[in-house]
């Protein structure tokens, strides 16, 4: 029989001690199994040899795992074990289960045959940050996990063809065993027999074809999440529960005032306290270790009283934030600019304008962030680091740790262990740097868990506040002919996004602990003239361009709408508070402005909000999801506000919103129904109908879980969440949102809406993301429903009772 390609396997090596060690914390029985089975894993075989020779890095000679090579994604043992390695992490969003499904489907084995190892430097491919609603399309796309699995599958078919001496077209595979179609059922060969723990020595084949989605057995099904049983039982090991022998417990002491610097530290403040506390200072970064969490907590409290700080900086009053932002020097860029907006606007029958505002909000992770870091040997070429971190990117954290500690990357091992849901750049990376600084200073493993105030005021970076100025021109028929949008977003530091957002140099100083330790922080560099969009690069990150624009750059349209004359200008200014990406970063802010404003325009021309949207859209998938959601919600077609509602007492209304997330990553629509007590100002969301078209649905129940969570988290952000800051006379300003009372969020006991989810399973289109999609729409749909019910237009988040009553009074409704 003919082989398409000859394929040779070679180089089996026993799993090294380092690889075995890296497999701890999950699946200990599996670890022993792999150890005995001798499954090779690239990087560690070589590392073992190097360790013996005593040269180079004691951990990993190159520090790299080449993601173009199949052996770095899939390993098949003689014992029939299948190990799959991937660089996209689990945070509760279901990515572990999604990848497990994908591996089972493409390799034609049951899910429980697969050991899935995620996000460990030196072992898993570097796939950057697990963020941005990017994981699903990355793993199903070219060069991702799907490509690796299909390359492995094709190789297995070729090996089986050789072994069974038949053409690949005659082979059938089931549960990892090949047989000849229609032949002797005992004439078989298994994956383990074919590969026997050896290397494939193949590059990923970009042309490898995925299994036919119409024949999916595991993908597309509501497979239960693999991690939920252990989490429900309480045995699941979060990073907060990593216990290393000899480990000390650390705490940080942050400046009590923004910008305050250490003047002096009275070491005697911790003298005699239990647990042998040791104070560590690196410039303005201060921490303490002790033998237990409680002793460290008490030592940090005592130490805080023993530090003398300089005065810090004063911020504008909270109420003046948006005016302050608009007056700062800015870094300007056009997302679109067709150059004709002013001339077309001048021909309009009418123009409409409005300003929308969005506050600082925080990730507010339920866990106070925690990491365990073991730095041995101080600093330099012979020092080593092992870090257990809840990070979204083990490789990026490794790079930052290298700079922070002065230790080569190849000597640093970072293992992602789940913390709580992060919703973006929460305290995960900062706490890892804090723990590393302490461990380096004391030469022992240190577990550092923030207290709640550390997490909320000195650990995480907030989402950007925004002012959005909207203006459109409509013709005599009420059709929009020009759309002019300008936002002002405030940013500082930006964590891993310093390069992307600010154009600054990456480094630990773009995070709070690194900056306190003296590393440089990237700054907003103002522009003299706005940068024009680059041809062919329309992405609509941040959804800066409204859905109703054509999104035209140099005559090529990438958008979802019909409005041809368009200008979308982003102005980035230096933020007084630390910022980075928070779930639906900038998308939620801009969509709040666009989708509320679209409702204003529709109301001003007395058009129904759904029909008016459809009239300005061109993209069939966005139109399709709006129609599906409106139908499911029983949308009553009429202009807003609702006729006949009294202007006192409790009234009800409905609002709609839609978006194509990031310009490509999930078509979404949402209808919110509210009741509003117009005398008290309280807004109650009674029902939400949310729909999404993300192409092929990988796990319907998992997708609905994400959508439902986003509805309620979106309500919390729309209705109650705002980071507050205050001034302390003579000292400076400080963030006063430091616990769950001073940063209120939606809780159990608050009214829950009925939630209806609509999935459009687009079988023919590869999947895109879902993790940040629906949340983008919640605030605007609620605001539009409030207007429908009351005639009051909400233009500022959060829509608290006080803000509603203020808007009602200002608008004289």
């Amino acid at each position: 029989m003919k082989l398409k390609n000859s394929l040779t396997l070679a180089g089996a090596q026993p799993l090294s001690e380092a690889a075995v060690e890296a497999l701890d914390f999950i699946e200990p029985s599996r670890r022993d199994f792999l150890k005995k089975a001798g499954v090779m894993m690239i990087g560690f075989g070589a590392a073992g040899a190097v360790r013996t020779a005593g040269a180079q890095s004691p951990i990993n000679p190159s520090g790299k795992v080449d993601g173009t090579q199949l052996d770095n994604w899939v390993a098949i043992g003689a014992d029939e074990s299948i190990t799959v390695l991937s660089g996209k992490c689990e945070f509760g969003q279901g990515v572990r289960t999604m990848q497990h499904q994908l591996a089972a489907e493409e390799l034609s084995v049951p899910m429980d045959r697969i050991t899935l190892i995620l996000c460990r430097t030196g072992i898993t491919p570097n796939q950057g940050y697990t963020a941005g609603s990017f994981s699903t399309w990355t793993q199903f796309g070219v060069g991702g996990l799907r490509t690796a699995l299909d390359t492995a599958r094709d190789a297995l078919f070729q090996l089986a063809s050789q072994y069974l001496d038949v053409d690949v077209s005659q082979l059938t595979v089931k549960d990892g065993v090949f047989s000849v179609t229609g032949g002797d059922p005992t004439y078989t060969v298994s994956y383990g027999q074919l590969v026997q723990g050896q290397r494939f020595n193949l590059a990923l084949n970009a042309k490898a074809v995925p299994n036919d989605p119409s024949k999916w057995k595991v993908l597309g099904k509501s497979v239960p999440r693999v991690d939920i049983p252990a989490k429900a039982k309480g045995t699941f090991q979060y990073v907060q529960k990593v216990r290393i022998p000899g480990m000390l417990h650390g705490k940080v002491v942050r400046p009590p005032i923004l910008g305050a610097r250490v003047q002096s530290i009275d070491q005697s403040s911790v003298t005699g306290l239990p647990g042998n506390p040791k104070v560590v200072q690196v410039n303005d970064w201060v921490g303490v270790v002790a033998d237990t969490e409680w002793n460290a907590t008490k030592a940090a409290g005592a130490l805080a009283t023993g530090i003398s700080w300089t005065p810090g900086v004063f911020l504008p009053a909270q109420t003046d934030l948006y005016t302050y932002m608009a007056g700062q020097p800015s870094r300007d860029s056009f997302a679109v600019n067709t150059g004709d907006v002013d001339t077309v606007m001048a021909t309009a029958a009418a123009t409409i304008s409005a300003q929308y505002r969005y506050p600082y909000q925080m990730h507010g992770s339920l866990a106070s962030s925690c990491a365990v870091v073991d730095v041995r040997g101080g600093t330099g070429k012979t020092a080593t680091v092992k870090a257990w971190s809840p990070t979204q990117s083990v490789y990026d954290v490794r790079t930052y740790l290298s700079t922070l500690l002065g230790i080569p990357e190849a000597n640093i091992e970072v293992i992602q262990v789940e913390g709580s849901g992060c919703y973006g750049g929460n305290g995960a990376d900062p706490v890892t740097f804090d723990a590393a600084l302490l461990s380096q200073a004391v030469g022992k493993p240190v577990r550092l868990q923030y207290n709640r105030r550390d997490e909320m005021t000195g650990g995480e970076h907030y989402g950007h506040p925004m002012v959005g100025n909207q203006k459109v021109g409509v013709d005599a028929n009420g059709t929009i002919i020009a759309w002019d949008y300008e936002n002002v977003l405030a940013a500082h530091g930006e964590g891993p996004l310093a390069g992307f957002t600010l154009g600054g140099a990456p480094g630990p100083g773009n995070f709070i602990p690194g900056a306190l330790a003296g590393f440089p922080t990237a700054k907003v560099v103002p522009t003299t003239a706005p940068a024009n969009p680059a041809a062919g690069l329309f992405w609509n990150f941040g959804n800066t361009v409204p859905p109703y624009s054509t999104g035209s750059i140099n005559g090529v349209s990438f958008g979802t709408g019909t409005v041809a004359s368009q200008r979308s200008l982003s102005r980035l200014v230096e933020s007084p508070l630390w910022t980075s990406y928070l779930r639906s970063p900038d998308h939620i802010q801009n969509t709040w402005a666009h989708e509320s404003f679209m409702d204003e325009i529709a109301a001003s021309v007395k058009a129904d909000s759904v029909l008016y949207r459809l009239r300005h859209l061109s993209d069939p998938r966005l139109i399709g999801v709006i129609n599906a959601v409106a139908r499911k919600a029983g949308w009553d077609t009429r202009p807003s506000p609702k006729a006949g509602n009294a202007r006192t007492g409790v009234v009800s209304g409905r609002g709609v919103s839609c978006v194509l997330y990031s310009g490509f990553d999930g078509y979404c629509a949402l209808v919110a129904e509210v009741s509003v007590d117009q005398d008290k100002g309280t807004i109650t969301v009674t029902k939400v109908t949310a729909g999404i078209d993300t192409g092929q649905v990988i796990n319907p129940n998992g997708l609905r879980n994400q959508m439902e969570g986003q509805v309620i988290q979106g309500m919390s952000r729309a209705l109650v969440e705002e980071v507050q800051f205050r001034n302390r006379e003579g000292s400076g300003s400080f963030v006063s949102s430091a616990d769950w009372y001073s940063y209120p969020v939606l809780r159990f006991g608050d009214a829950l809406p009925e939630i209806v989810t609509v999935l459009i399973n687009n079988h023919k289109i590869p999947p895109t993301g879902a993790g940040e999609t629906i949340i983008t729409l919640v605030a605007s749909a609620i605001g539009n429903a409030v207007f429908d019910a009351t005639g009051v237009r909400m233009r500022q988040i959060p829509m608290t009772a006080a803000n509603f009553l203020a808007a009602k009074a200002a608008q004289k409704v």
Binding site: K231, Y238, L366, A367, G419, Q706, G709, L752
Partner: protein, 161 residues
Amino acid sequence: MATYGLQVNGQSSNVTLDDPSTPLLLVLQENFELNGPKFGCGLGQCGACTVLLDGKPIRSCITAVSDAAGHSVTSLEGLRALDGLPNPDALHPIQEAFVAEQALQCGFCIAGPIMYGYAFVRDNPNTTRADIEQGLSGILCRCCAHSRMINAIQRYAQENF
């Protein structure tokens, strides 16, 4: 130094500590190496540290070990044993209901909803959905799986009472 007798998940043990105000949560975390009760806020505001003290849900992060001494403490891991069910490592029926409803995302908060749900249904077997929502009043889930968690507790009540 003082020694405190605790009955944790059915097992009697003594712990010796120098500070009677040491939070019970930290004793369960460090001395008993339990993963079920978790540190969310340390202020008794979120519920991630919830355990049952003599069957009643409490916030272990603000409960001094000296106040728990002499009492029985049950964490997520010990619910089956508390109800006298065989095979203590298996899921308790309320935990099975959370799996059946896929009623969590990150799961860090889960001691709150499960422990409060367990005690609420035990004390109010003929409960309504609205009652359950109020029974969990004040605890937090930041992934916002609220609806599914209520569904799970309702399922547990309907299938077991």
